[in-house]
Symmetry: C2
Subunit: 445 residues, 2 copies
């Protein structure tokens, strides 16, 4: 048996942390390391010290009192300091962060990062570099804030072949969709409310177009399927085209509308997508409200496990970052040959899975059409779907403007291939009686 | 920096497992080790072999084909075999398991166990013994089946001070309560259905009286508060006194009835209890149906994180056991000084928390009374509550048998101390107009 005795000399008793970034999360992390030293020592068996904090502006007023001399604007003060064992990165983005992280790993420093973008774009490279240098890189905070989904995919659920991950992992869009569903506000109004509350940025495109969720899904899928995916592999649809009446019809049909990030394995290929979808009202994912996040993992052994919690904010993200910090200290000196995250960078454990294009996806659809209120219009539309071998599950028809002679038709379909649906929609849009294909939303059961 | 090189000789390339128990879970674990050898090797970086399986009857027909020579009825074939590095125990109970586990730890073997009873009763002793011998003991499968709550409390959520854990961790009682709520069946009928489906044992007392949940809560609380608790510290009420009308009234008042296992920190003391409670219908815990389990952790940083999944069964439990097996192999040779589970056995990281008696618990109450249908009866009851400084939140009164002149009064209260409520109930029961205090159930918001 291996014994833990006799090796303790290899890991120092005093562990020094260099923190990169002192925004809301950085401030939370710094406050924890400084204020909860005894908790950290109890959890790790070692003293964990904050040695240096990288900021852009050293003179800026801060919400935290730091010991003098801690702040620096020079990354080298952390990267070139051989006494700093762990770099905690909470700056975000890739430039200059990616280079900082590579330099830190090359020096054998361990990394804890909250950075979804750098992990989605350069995760495999960083993980390979970590492995080469005997370092760990942990990134629980990059997905789902206080929800421990990254660690669970790497560790606790490691025995499972993952059939699917279905998630709500962007709090901004979920807040907007919750407002639109509950208050029937327009997208623009809900967005501006979210901006007013600080839930959405001034330039909200990364959130509302699904780019942020695609980064996070890339990370989850890479962990689940143990091979690197690219965010370009993720098909993305944003939420800006949703209108209040979509929520009304969805509710009438027994559904909520949620922006889902989904990875699933289908016949040896992986399907990755972020899009608004109709979710049955009684499903747990339909009940995830406001800025909350949720991740449902369907594993070969565990079955469906759902995680629900706060996906963003200083405290939940600090929970994840400090949890990783504790883990990285606990692991220091480990001769572990593999961890879930390192597998992602590795050669994999079987044939690489291909990514199936969105046109191949079988899904049920919700279609809303603005039509002329004439006899026969529904028959024409049904004919187009029938010709495409797409069968109808339900139909709603509503007069919208009797004077203008316009009506709205809502159709839900049975499962159809994406490419067939695109063909059918194109034909429908060309029908003289169809004024507009107002919306097309997939249905997830 | 510590380096992982130069130590690899200390951990063998071939890891041998001795499995104790070959019931439904043991069969699942054996099938995994034998059938998914390459997955295990990819996940751990080492080969994991099944070397011996302890059974009671070697001649019994099995659902699994094992290589010849693997089965033994002699525990010493595992415990005294120096080539067995890890013991996986899925027998259950304390005798003879506790002695087996102690002997294995004394020999420096690592342990993975699914045994809630032995961990609740002897966890601190086993963990101390593990620490002393440089071994790990992991027990994810002891609580919540496929839900990774044990590991998350030890690792991913380790940065948090835990304010409370509220959980549904006994699938048998949750199945019975779900049937009683949905079908308005009697307790006896729902129990016998559960027995017919194999969800409840012939002698169901451990489940329905909350003993099983108390074991599990003891483990969760010990992890959350990082000190050993005893299952005797857990106040327990079973579900057998619930009647169909309780579910009807609860629904009318906007609640579901669930058997909750709760640990919370209140003014420096821990409160531990298992009891049926009214839970607001819109709360996630109210929506946990059938044999599903759920655990809601409220942490100082993460906020409320909810885990939901299958709490029992061969596959979910195998997910947890094999997850631990992977972790224990990954950790072999680690010089980690502390892990969440070892802290539980250790001296703690502050003053030990006391356990507050149930009489001190502040709770809202639901009270159902069988009364004489006479004028003034409600006034008498309200007077008793008022005298006890317990204020009423809502009242329902229903004639139940006009001929016999009996009625049912249901009262919900604002928060009151348990001891005050007991006093008031005793006085109420003595009122001439009160025929019976039919039920008293706490309300959890």
């Amino acid at each position: 048996m291996a014994s833990s005795s006799g090796m303790s000399g290899e890991v120092p008793d005093e562990i020094n942390v260099g923190l990169m970034g002192l925004g809301v999360v950085g401030t939370g992390v710094a406050a924890y390391i400084l204020g909860k030293a005894s908790s950290l020592a109890a959890a790790t068996g070692r003293n964990v010290n904050l040695k240096k904090v990288l900021v852009r502006d050293i003179t800026r007023a801060r919400d935290i009192d730091l010991p003098s001399g801690l702040l620096t604007t020079n990354a080298e003060d952390i990267l070139a300091d051989a006494e700093i064992h762990i770099v905690v990165e909470v700056i975000g983005g890739t430039d200059p962060v990616e280079n900082h992280l590579k330099q830190a790993l090359a020096a054998g420093k361990h990394i804890v990062t909250a950075n979804k973008e750098v992990m989605a774009k350069s995760g495999p490279e960083l993980l390979a570099l970590a492995r080469k240098n005997g370092a760990n890189i942990l990134f629980e905070a990059s997905v789902g804030g206080g929800i421990p989904i990254v660690g669970c995919l790497m560790n606790e659920l490691a025995a499972n072949d993952i059939r699917s991950i279905r998630s709500i992992i962007n709090g901004t869009t979920n807040y907007i969709l919750t407002r639109m569903a509950n208050e029937r506000t327009s997208f623009d109004q809900a967005l501006s409310e979210a901006q007013g509350l600080g839930y959405a940025e001034a330039d909200p495109i990364n959130d509302i177009e699904g780019i942020d969720a695609a980064y996070k899904l890339t990370i989850l899928a890479s962990l689940a399927y143990r091979q690197p995916f690219q965010s370009a592999d993720v098909y993305c649809e944003g939420i800006s085209r949703l209108e209040p009446q979509d929520f009304r019809y969805a509710q009438e049909l027994g559904y909520a509308i949620k922006s889902l990030a989904i990875a699933n394995l289908d016949d040896g290929a992986v399907q990755l997508r972020v899009y608004p979808a109709l979710v049955p009202s009684e499903h747990m994912l339909a009940k995830v409200d406001g800025v909350y996040n949720a991740v449902e993992v369907d594993g070969s052994l565990c079955g469906q496990v759902l995680f629900h919690g706060m996906g963003a904010g200083s405290e939940p993200t600090t929970s994840a970052v400090v949890g990783d910090l504790i883990e990285v200290v606990r692991k220091m000196g480990s001769q572990s040959r593999s961890s879930g995250s390192q597998e992602w960078a590795g050669p994999g454990n079987g044939a690489a899975l291909t990514v199936r294009p969105i046109g191949d996806l079988q899904a049920r659809y919700y279609i809303r059409l603005d039509v002329a209120d004439n006899p026969g219009v529904l028959a024409q539309i049904a004919q187009v779907l029938g010709d495409g071998e797409i069968s109808i599950a339900a139909v709603l028809q509503r007069d919208t403007d009797a004077e203008a002679g316009s009506a709205e038709i809502v159709i839900t379909t049975h499962p159809a291939k994406g490419a067939s649906m695109q063909d059918a929609l194109q034909i429908m849009a060309g029908l003289s009686q169809v004024r507009r294909v107002s919306n097309v939303i997939r249905i997830e059961e």
